[in-house]
């Protein structure tokens, strides 16, 4: 009985109707940049995860007899200074960049959303204490923290995900806290409280679902940020130890050979990083517009 009554108070139940979802998709599809971003992202995912099936290479063992070959023949993008096929390494490295970026971005969004929603909903000293923690953490440059932590522990995929997420959750936390502050005074929240609903229910059944548009759009930017941070850390030499690779470490290794003209070591990973980050940003922009339209219509 209670459940049914509460559900009736939820505006998101209405928002989730098929017509509105379709309208959101239609608005997103009309945004050419967003659509291009989505296609590029799909292309890159296919390249990294399905590409090795078409172009299988050994990315574990070095082959010094094939070191630093220019593009052509058996190696369409050339080889690295240790003889790895660069096209294959781009796929292999892309898997790490995308996996770590996606996981860190989503983890940061998840934690930041819950943290911000709790702070915003409960308000008072809880909000003050939680937000001062956020402010203090934001005052420390993220890159400094990342470099310090990555220098202390040996980076691995899970470790990278955790250390990137540990600095990236601050932004969604502040954002969702703002949303929660606005949502907590809505009638349906008051109604839920009168009917005996607790804080947990308010946060997870009402605040977070009603801020889902903000959460989703922010998640795309968080993922783009996380991919860049993976590249950034790797560029500074704090990547997962070889033979693992990611686009940032490939770019870093290639820069060493700038003076001798090995362009194929620099452009492919550099372009891949720019493409994936731009794709996520375009998708985020498209989603933001789509959610804006949906809410306006509503």
């Amino acid at each position: 009985m209670t459940t049914t009554a509460l559900d009736a108070t939820q505006p998101e139940a209405a928002l989730a109707t098929p017509s509105l979802a379709r309208r959101t998709l239609t608005v997103f599809a009309r945004n050419k940049l967003a659509l291009t971003g989505a296609l590029v992202l799909l292309g890159l995912l296919a390249f990294c995860f399905l590409g090795p099936l078409i172009h299988p290479t050994d990315q574990i063992h070095t082959d010094l007899t094939q070191a630093s070959l220019a593009p052509g023949g058996a190696h369409p993008l050339g080889t690295t200074d240790l003889g790895y096929d660069l096209l294959g390494r781009l796929m292999y490295g892309g898997q790490t960049s995308l996996e770590v970026g996606l996981a860190a971005g989503l983890l940061a969004t998840l934690f930041g959303t819950v943290y911000g929603a709790v702070a915003g909903y409960f308000g008072g000293w809880v909000d003050a204490a939680m937000m001062r923690v956020t402010d203090a953490a934001l005052a420390i440059p993220a890159l400094f923290l990342l470099v310090v932590v990555a220098a202390i522990v040996t980076p691995s995929k899970p470790v990278l995900i955790l250390i990137i997420a540990s600095v990236a959750w601050l932004s969604p936390a502040r954002l969702i806290r703002g949303e929660a502050l606005a949502l907590r005074s809505r009638d349906y929240i008051h109604a839920m409280r009168l009917m005996g609903g607790g804080g947990g229910r308010a946060v997870f059944r009402h605040i977070v679902p009603n801020a889902i548009g903000t959460v989703i759009v922010n998640a795309t930017f968080q993922i783009a940020d996380a991919i860049l941070y993976v590249a950034y850390l790797s560029f500074l030499g704090l990547s997962i130890p070889p033979p693992a690779a990611d686009w940032g470490s490939m770019l870093s290794a290639g820069i060493t050979y700038t003076q001798v003209g090995y362009w194929w070591l620099i452009f492919p990973p550099g372009i891949a990083i720019v493409l994936v980050v731009a794709a996520f940003n375009f998708i985020g922009d498209g989603l933001r517009d789509a959610f804006d339209v949906r809410l306006t219509k509503n």
């Binding site: 070095t62 240790l82 950034y232 003076q259």
Partner: protein, 599 residues
Amino acid sequence: MGLRSTRIRGPLGRILAAVLLGATALTGCGPTANVVTDVGATGGTPVRGGTATMALPPAASPNWIFPIGAPGYLATYNKAIQNLLFLPLYTAEKKGDALTMDSPRNLAEQPRYSDGNKTVTITLKKGYTWSDGVPVTTRDVKFWFDLIKGNKKEWAGYSPSLMPDDVTAFETVDDRTFRLRLDRAYNPAWFTGNQLDSFLALPVHAWNPRNEDPKTAFARLTQHAKQFSQFATDPLWKTVNGPWTIEKWNTSGQVSLVPNKNYRGPDKPHLDRVVFKPFTTADSEFNVLRAGGVDYGYIPPSVMAQSAKFKEMGYRIDPWDGWAITYIVLNFNHPTAGPLLRQSYLRQALQYLIDQKSISKVIWHGSAAPTLGPVPAGLLDGEPYPYDPEQAKRLLAAHGWADRDGTLRCVRPGTGAAECGTGVKDGQELRLSLLSQSGSTETSNTMQAIKSEFGKAGITLDIRQQPLNTVLGTTVPCKKDEPICGEWQLGFFGTQGSWYFPTDPSGEKLFATNAPSNMGNWSDPRTDRLIRDTEYSDAPAAMRDYGREVARQLPVLWTPNPAYQVSAIRNDLRGIDQNVTLTLAPQDWYFVTKDGAGK
């Protein structure tokens, strides 16, 4: 909704900038390279003064000023800087193809051997004083001798039965002369080159004014030596007898020296200041060099082919070859890896898997050469274990190792000829970890190539990279029950060579039992005997026998020996002698200008 992250612009901008920078550099559309000087590599008029900045090796920062070396602080740059402040009695200098000990920089006259080479008489050169004007006397040398004799276990240069154990008496003849009574007759060339080279004069009047006993004085001085941030301000280190004195010593490792105005030696500095600048990586040094930020730096081996560009910028390129060998240290006292590494067949298999020739040619771009053994290659027959992965696999299979899911495991434990060997357990995985120095692309690539070859043979090698000081501080001689012994299995600190020979390339400090630089704790009675032979006899056969035996025994894994560095030196900075023993003499450096105007 204002969702856009503001932080995105920073990293994105930097990555984009890196891509664009690479693009412009590759297409040759970048800005004109900085020309640091219009003076050629020869000619010009010498001028007095100026500041010369020299780049330190990557990921290396000077961290020990006390001229009595402590374990873990033995980096060459520490010693090189100490020698500019505190003159050694004898220092090696290259003359032609040989190393001699009669440098004009020596604080003492040539030693005189007598009593059937059982007594050495040494006279200090006239006129030397400390920077506070007090004369340098035999009391100062005696102070050094008492410190190392009373604290030999704490001295990184101590080898049992050698200095100071081999001196039975230190007799002061007068203010400038002293006599050493030795415990037996030694080969004079060896004794001068490998024992007297550690002799120093330390300012007893300033460092031990209260006549404390050697143990108390040593503890107090070591305590001061650990105050890294106070090296430039601590009055102790202001009293020097070398040509330079400390101006600044940052905690980041940047050291700035200025001339010691009371220096009485023949080689008074021409420059106003010399600065040693640390870098975290070779790439960062390279970027600063290209921007003209150092006067005396180095270029990565990978860009040697492009040295013409640097010549256009006003640098001369001069490879600095050291008299050295390079190797991976094996920790025989590690609780789990020790029993594996003590198996000679296993060490041979590991050595067969290191393709030194290809690594030298491809990764080091020809700036390294294979290390064949513990002495210069001319004293050896050849490479006892040349690259042969099939032979490595055969050796391992013949001793009870079998492939299980791509990893070798011991399937025949035991001590028999065809079994894994003492201490190796049934089913034990052949897995090793390597602590390697960071900061060099070539070193990282070398370790990757070795890991790859080991992997093909079924041996797992985990690599951990740390700055050089961390590696040197960890890979120290240790006993089985000491915690630090469990922290590393294999170690590498040879980006610029692992071991620089003393004048006589014998191994008393390197491979003798309990030797100070025997980081892996190698102990073999036959090796010890052969090393002793080189100390007592000047017969060339003694050195050859020692070299061949150790090359065969493999107390370490030999790896390509790189040049110390490929130096890039400003054309207008002259007087630089890149000594094979890596000593520095910035007091000889000077600038030149086209018209003789002051620098």
